[in-house]
Symmetry: C2
Subunit: 364 residues, 2 copies
């Protein structure tokens, strides 16, 4: 059966980098017999511009019918003053929720050719290879929220006659925790068999449940070494000695923070892909770098994170690990050959544009 | 009037490092005419051992009567299996709440003598001097929490017959935000006049209120340059280029994470003090390093973070900035003279113990 892919370029540099992915898809179809078809959809600011919504109904319908989705990026200064429910991010949060994409996989891999780009000392990051597994459809991102004016509001022993009060709820069920934790254990099994679960169980009720469930699920994975860290310590350890980690599993908000730290450790945000999967194996794949309005439209963006996201798509949703390997090797070779876009060029190194980089990957 | 200080050694290495602070206090009284008296109290595991409570009533009573409190550390493996409300951390959270210590000041300062200890490249951290202002008595640390078994619980389109569900609430009032933001603006005025407010306003209702209040309060401080970052980006920026920051203000949970990252950037957790103040200028001062059960009782702990916490106590609660300066200079000189405890000794450097370090500071 022909696999159906939805391309969602989104905003900023999204269209440029997704265009390179489309070229690679065409090459895989024409030269490697990949049985695939694709269509385009609008999301984020682009969705709002065309349909008044960051996640137009027609896009969601296409997404539901697709085997996998490749997204560029959403957001831009032009949309910053929109009401919250029209903001580009809402398109991204909306599609995550609507498709139930609960398992966010964020590898942080340091390419030896780019080791100098890390802000950490080289010996601390050489060979760094961490996978952050972030819960993506629960917790404080999707919990009950409120905003109200309250009379006689107490703060400690002090009472305020009138206060504006806003709140968000971090809620997790054992069901949601168990499925993401299983994803993480399975991933750890295929890697170095070490899993670190991150919570704030010394303070939060939801973290206590998190930790209990991890301890229960761990019984099914005696071959995986499990540890637990509080989130403050985990953030610290990532900066102190990141190579102690293999797979990290955590909730939505802690995962948001820790995966960005881990990404930064590699020094090359322009190189990092991500996958967000649901229970049916359907996935949304996207580079983690964001829309970068400052360099968008100039043909200088780094398409490699998007191509590596496409490799994850091939591996996880299309079950074509063989082609994923090929694509990842091509990226590696292109780096080894010295080709650099501006974001990963060391001072003095020659730079190539988005298209030349895409073409070079196809050529390998 | 004689200033009254409460010493709360707590657990682990707490008693050793607080003993050095007591020696310094005695020297300040005897040689510099500081009008001060002090007594001891029990908190954390030590409180539990003696009174069955991590914050015994007698300790809280002493705390209320003190002008300032100096705390060592709480916690240890011995207490890890206690029920949550008896755990040492509860003593710390309890005293913060009971005294309304809402303003947590955490400086992250890199001593040039210890520059090599950072995991970041030297040029990125040389001269690093950041102040994190963390809200300490609100947010998800003290919000409504629940834990229940729920029938027919929905997760997206899926319904679970029975689920364990736990939740925590992140709630903030404009009153609580305003007072901590003002603290941060005042601190920025005395430093490099740059304030970065960190939130997750693109997702959280409480963060939107946070941002609104910061924008309102900013009008009273036109001389301070204000910026806003989402917490994921802030964590990333701290690792990428920490020197872009002067003062950072944020909520309780984000502050917990970001202040530990900032501390780690200096590479010398054993050197960092903190202050937690209430509206009356009463403060609790403590080193950020924790109880370190692995090295406790061996006379090798670094007392400098505790002595620097005492310097903050002199400056903020006793209004003796002159003596605080003297103490900080003495610490600086001791470092310059090459004295090192194990935690800050570079490989091959000679090490001194806790008491010798305390004596050396007193000698200057
Ligand atoms: C854009 C934003 C809502 C999003 C998030 O916080 O999840 C982003 O930071 C991410 O990590 O994918
Ligand atoms: C011990 C713990 C409850 C505490 C906190 O999270 O506030 C600690 O991490 C801190 O930062 O002082």
């Amino acid at each position: 059966m022909t696999a159906k892919i939805l391309l969602l370029p989104g905003d900023g540099l999204g269209p440029e980098v997704v265009a390179e992915a489309e070229k690679v898809l065409a090459a895989l179809r024409d030269r490697h017999g990949l049985d695939v078809s694709w269509e385009y959809g609008l999301i984020g600011g682009a969705g709002y511009d065309a349909h008044g919504e960051p996640l137009p109904a027609v896009t969601l319908e296409k997404a539901r019918g697709a085997d996998a989705i490749l997204l560029g990026a959403v957001g831009g200064p032009k949309y910053d003053t929109l009401p919250k429910d029209k903001r580009p991010e809402r398109g991204l949060l909306g599609i995550r929720a609507a498709l139930g994409l609960y398992a966010n996989l964020r590898p942080a891999l340091l390419y030896k050719e780019l080791a100098g780009a890390s802000s950490l000392k080289p010996e601390l990051v050489a060979g760094l290879d961490i996978l952050i597994v972030r819960e993506l459809t629960g917790g404080i991102y999707f919990g009950k929220r409120s905003s109200a004016v309250v009379e006689n509001y107490s703060v400690g022993s002090h009472t305020v006659a009138q206060a504006r009060v806003a709140s968000d709820t971090e809620a997790y069920s054992d069901f949601e925790i168990e499925r993401i934790v299983r994803t993480a254990f399975e991933a750890a099994r295929l890697r170095n068999k070490k899993l670190c679960s991150v919570d704030k169980a010394n303070v939060l009720e939801s973290s206590q449940l998190w930790r209990e469930v991890v301890l229960e699920v761990a019984k099914d994975y005696p071959d995986v070494e499990v540890s637990h860290l509080y989130v403050d310590n985990a953030a610290m350890q990532l900066v102190r000695a990141p190579k102690q980690f293999d797979v990290i599993v955590t909730n939505n908000i802690f995962g948001d923070i820790l995966s960005d730290i881990a990404a930064q450790l590699t020094g090359s945000i322009g190189m990092l892909p991500s996958a967000s999967m649901n229970a049916q194996g359907q996935g949304l794949y996207e580079p983690i770098h964001g829309s970068a309005p400052d360099i968008a439209g100039r043909g200088i963006a780094n398409p490699l994170a998007t191509l590596l996201s496409l490799a994850m798509l091939l591996r996880y949703s299309l079950k074509r690990g063989d082609l994923a390997d090929k694509l990842e090797q091509a990226v590696q070779q292109v780096l080894a050959s010295g080709l650099r876009t501006g974001d990963i060029a060391a001072p003095g190194e020659a730079k190539v544009g988005t298209q030349a980089m895409g073409d070079a990957v196809i050529a390998r």
